[in-house]
């Protein structure tokens, strides 16, 4: 701290005052094995005078003994810590280094560049505000550079310093530097990194580390330390809606009930309307308690204790949020998962998921794909191995309050813990709630469709039979239901005629009423599927758009359109109920096929040609098909 020592010597009071207001920048350095990363960090520590005399003399000795720079000071030795890595000459884990200048305190996450890169880099990056990506000027943008950049972007760091190192070895060539920067920018734009500051430097010789390098007068931008000191650290979380994951309920006596936690985002003030999630109860902030006295308001990052004006049930894991902008509650997500353990991640296995102060059970349903971090290609995958990154669907045993990771790192980031070994085996980012769980009311979350269906030993679904009047829908549906019930399944048959006697007796046969007729039946079927039932719907449902509307109420794999295909002439010939005759005589208006259209299904899951088989055969065919589709087991 040579540049500050005058002030320290002359006026320690002024120095302390200035340092009281220092901000903190956490950054990560990413580079490959030989990019000079440790040298750069060692250099930063050395230049900011964080190396004490005794450490320096140890460094001089070590440089002669095990240094790689022929007896010259090897700054990398300042930061290589564990005995094992000294022997191997590589760093093997995430290390944290500290230095400070007049303006800032810095915490550097130093992560290795070898094969454990993904686990370690993601770990180091998770707490960083900025990333320094090192490039060897002789080598330019490498596969590793792309990999590091992708991971930096994935974990949500938006600010990047492109440190083009070893400029001394390329004759401080401006052309080389500019070519590398152009290459990098082209790649970075592809993955969405835009806030990039490129600096040419030599960590070994100190060029552009602390002062403008006389060897590169053409570099108009800042030197590295200058940039690290000046880059804004305004916490993006402060501008977001208020969120406080409750860590601990403070109850020292009957008169005090406080909810302790660190504010994840936004700000809170006394008197603010809040909502507690997942319960959804509302209250008002009575006090913001700290040992230093009550606060009027508090912001993201502060650890506080809130009391509320009313008796509301709040426990660890709940989130206290802005009443006007609460987070969603959901139990099924699409998530991006980074696997961190030698034991691969298995679909269908239950892991513990910790997010905020809440731990729940999570099952990974399908792995949609994994990502090749070198090429960014999406690859099909059934499981994730150590250092794999995959996009998966997650199903939790209960709903949790969440925000997408891109919105809120605290409410969207999670770790996965193995239930047997207790190891932290993975980390992940919640991308979004799956449509099927979105807007599900919190009251229903403890027992959901899946649980109800499982209790009945079946998969809930709807068989939507459509076709002309007299095509045979009801007869076939009735046979299917009898068979399923005989097999011990839980079903319900919604028949068009029957429903029109009750729920829909106010509806006629105009196009508008037909739409409403289908909407109601679709909603009722949805409730029944939610109850875990196999639902048979036997409705003419003549319009494609309403059948599509019905389909969209369900998850993929739940809705089966069954087209009972009987030509008009054949239906009219059968005319079991005499309706066609009435219609032909004009006694029935808007009769499908006569004076109201029937829109034939374009791609039904199942099509039954009733001219080729009887009702029993049709029922048989449909059940066979459902077994093939694994909707019901054999």
């Amino acid at each position: 701290m040579a540049h500050q020592s005058d002030l320290i010597a002359q006026d320690i009071g002024a120095y302390l005052k200035a340092h009281e207001h220092k901000s903190l920048l956490r950054f990560i350095t990413c580079g490959s094995v030989d990019d000079g990363k440790s040298t750069l960090i060692g250099r930063l520590l050395y230049e900011s005078k964080m190396i004490f005399d005794d450490q320096l003399s140890a460094l001089e000795q070590d440089s002669k003994k095990v240094g790689t720079r022929g007896g010259e000071l090897d700054f990398a030795l300042l930061v290589d810590g564990l005995a094992a890595e000294r022997e191997q000459g590589i760093t093997i884990d995430v290390a944290y280094r500290f230095f400070s200048t007049e303006k800032r305190k810095f915490i550097v996450a130093d992560t290795p560049g070898h094969e454990q890169y993904t686990r370690n880099m993601v770990t180091g990056a998770s707490t960083a505000d900025l990333a320094v990506i090192l490039i060897d000027a002789r080598k330019g943008v490498l596969t590793q550079t792309r990999r590091h950049s992708f991971l930096v972007h994935l974990i949500g760091i938006s600010r990047v310093v492109l440190a083009v190192n070893k400029m001394d070895l390329v004759g401080y060539s401006r052309e080389t530097f500019e070519r590398i920067v152009a290459d990098y920018r082209a790649f970075a734009a592809r993955i969405g990194l835009t806030d990039i500051t490129a600096i040419p430097l030599s960590a070994a010789y100190g060029d552009n580390i602390l002062a403008a390098s006389p060897n590169m007068p053409w570099h108009a931008g800042p030197n590295l330390m200058q940039h690290l000191e000046d880059v804004p650290v305004t916490d993006a979380a402060t501008g977001k809606p208020f969120r406080l994951p409750v860590q601990w309920v403070n109850r020292p006596n009957q008169d005090f009930r406080g909810f302790a936690g660190q504010i994840a985002s936004g700000r809170v003030a006394r008197g603010d309307r809040i909502r507690v999630l997942p319960s959804g109860r509302e209250s008002e902030v009575a006090r913001i308690v700290t040992a230093g006295g009550d606060l009027e308001s508090a912001v993201a990052g502060q650890s506080v204790t809130l009391t509320l004006t009313s008796e509301v049930d709040v426990s660890r894991g709940d989130v206290i949020a802005a009443g006007s902008a609460p987070p969603q509650v959901a139990s099924q997500f699409e998530a991006t998962i980074v696997w961190m353990h030698e034991e691969p991640m298995l679909q269908g296995r239950a892991y513990l998921l910790k997010t905020g102060a809440r731990t729940v059970t999570a099952t990974i349903t399908p792995v949609k794909h994994k990502i090749n971090v070198n090429t960014l290609d999406e690859l099909p995958a059934e499981r994730l191995e150590l250092n794999d990154i995959g996009v998966c669907e997650l199903e939790l045993d209960r709903g949790i309050p969440f925000d997408p990771y891109t919105e809120n790192h605290t409410l969207g980031g999670f770790i996965l813990i193995d239930r047997m070994s207790n190891s932290t085996v993975g980390a992940g980012l919640l991308n979004f709630a799956l449509r099927r769980s979105q807007n599900v009311h919190w009251q229903a979350l403890d027992v959901d469709k899946k649980v109800r269906a499982r209790q009945k030993g079946q998969k809930a679904c709807v068989l939507w039979l459509t076709g002309l009047s007299g095509a045979g829908k009801s007869t076939i549906a009735n046979l299917i239901e009898k068979r399923l019930t005989a097999e011990g399944r839980h079903t319900y048959l919604l028949d068009g005629d029957n429903v029109r006697h009750g729920l829909n007796k106010d509806l006629g046969f105009t196009a508008q009423d037909r739409v409403e007729n289908i909407r109601r039946v679709a909603e009722v079927s949805k409730l029944m599927v939610d109850a875990g039932l196999i639902v048979l719907v036997s409705f003419i449902s003549p319009f494609r758009s309403e059948r599509r509307m019905a389909r969209e109420l369900f998850q993929p794999g739940e809705f089966f359109e069954v087209f009972i295909d009987t030509p008009l002439a054949e239906a009219e010939r059968r005319d079991v109920k005499g309706l066609y005759k009435k219609a032909r005589r004009g006694e029935l208006k808007n009769f499908t096929g006569i004076d109201s259209p029937y829109e034939t299904p374009e791609s039904p899951e199942i099509r039954i040609d009733t001219t080729a088989m009887d009702a029993a055969g049709a029922a048989e065919r449909i059940i066979d098909r459902l077994q093939e589709l694994k909707v019901i087991d054999t």
Partner: protein
């Protein structure tokens, strides 16, 4: 207690000390919420003072819901014992003092057994005995990552086997502020809430928050003898004087506090916190040099850690 560190800057950005404080409080609460029987290791030094102060803040208005544990080697400075008892009484916290009785019976002391054996028996073994005796499953320690190279990689939640061993390969990745405190019966955690603090941060925080510390940190006239280039304070009658040694009265203070026969004093006039900080910043000798245990082979701390020393 002043509210200085609690209110954010007008810009809405927290200062570095506010961020460190909030992080430490989060860690302390997380352990209390998730572990069954936590304890705070209290060594009476300045780092312990800050850690304890943070605990008071974390659980205010409740008293921190865990006891303090002092693993006593019986060779601490008298002023440290007095300070320890006073602080515990003032905070209303339970103070457990554990002394390795076997070591005591065997007469282990720093003068005849040397620093290594003394530290191993009285401190390392003593700590394990105490943790086993009370069945603590999580112990807060005041270690910082900036103290020593091998500590730079230490997790905040450091996992220990049932034999109290630290295995660098079994440490869990720590992402964001999500810590995994789960363990099997017998296994335990060492938790370091001050991991990200530096020596300067500690002093600055003590200054800003007006945290009481042992008076030995401040300069005063004290009786010392010079041994192997270190100034050792003659704190009580147990200290055997070598032929020709006479205690001299010198203005000295201590940058770090341990067992008095193993802790070198520095000549200094710094008798206020700003003066101490000033001296620290202008003196380019690192903090742990005063502790005799570090004068071993390279990576000695790592070996000690594997054996269970904090």
């Amino acid at each position: 207690m002043k509210a200085a560190a609690a209110a954010p800057l007008s810009t809405g950005t927290l200062t570095h000390l506010q961020r460190l404080e909030a992080e430490s409080i989060h860690i302390l609460r997380e352990v209390v919420a998730e572990c069954e029987k936590p304890v705070m290791l209290y060594s009476i030094g300045k780092d312990s003072a800050v850690m304890l102060h943070l605990a008071v803040k974390a659980f205010y208005p409740a008293v921190p819901p865990f006891p303090l544990l002092h693993v006593d080697t019986t060779w601490k400075f008298k002023a440290m014992y007095a300070f320890r008892d006073e602080i515990a009484a003032r905070l209303g916290m339970q103070l457990l003092v554990h002394i390795n009785q076997e070591g005591l019976k065997a007469g282990v002391n720093p003068f005849t057994h040397g620093s290594q054996v003394h530290t191993d028996v009285m401190k390392t073994q003593g700590l394990k005995q105490a943790l086993d005796k009370y069945g603590f499953d999580a112990a807060f320690g005041g270690a910082r990552r900036d103290e020593e190279k091998s500590r730079a990689k230490e997790r905040i939640f450091s996992f220990r086997s049932a034999q109290h061993r630290w295995d660098p390969k079994q440490q869990r990745p720590e992402l964001w502020s999500l810590y995994n405190p789960r363990k099997h019966p017998g296994e335990s955690l060492r938790v370091f809430p001050l991991s990200n603090w530096t020596e300067l941060d500690i002093w600055q925080y003590i200054y800003l928050e007006n945290i009481p510390i042992v008076p030995l940190y401040f300069s005063a006239l004290r009786p010392v003898v010079e041994r192997d280039g270190a100034l050792i304070m003659v704190d009580d009658e147990r200290m055997p004087l070598k032929p020709g040694e006479t205690p001299m009265q010198k203005r000295v203070r201590f940058r770090t506090l341990g067992c008095y026969p193993l802790t070198g004093a520095v000549e200094s006039d710094a008798d206020t916190l700003p003066a101490i900080i000033q001296e620290m910043l202008l003196t380019k000798t690192s903090e742990r040099q005063g502790r005799v245990i570090d004068h071993d082979a390279a990576a000695s701390m790592e070996k000690k850690k594997q054996e269970g020393y904090f």
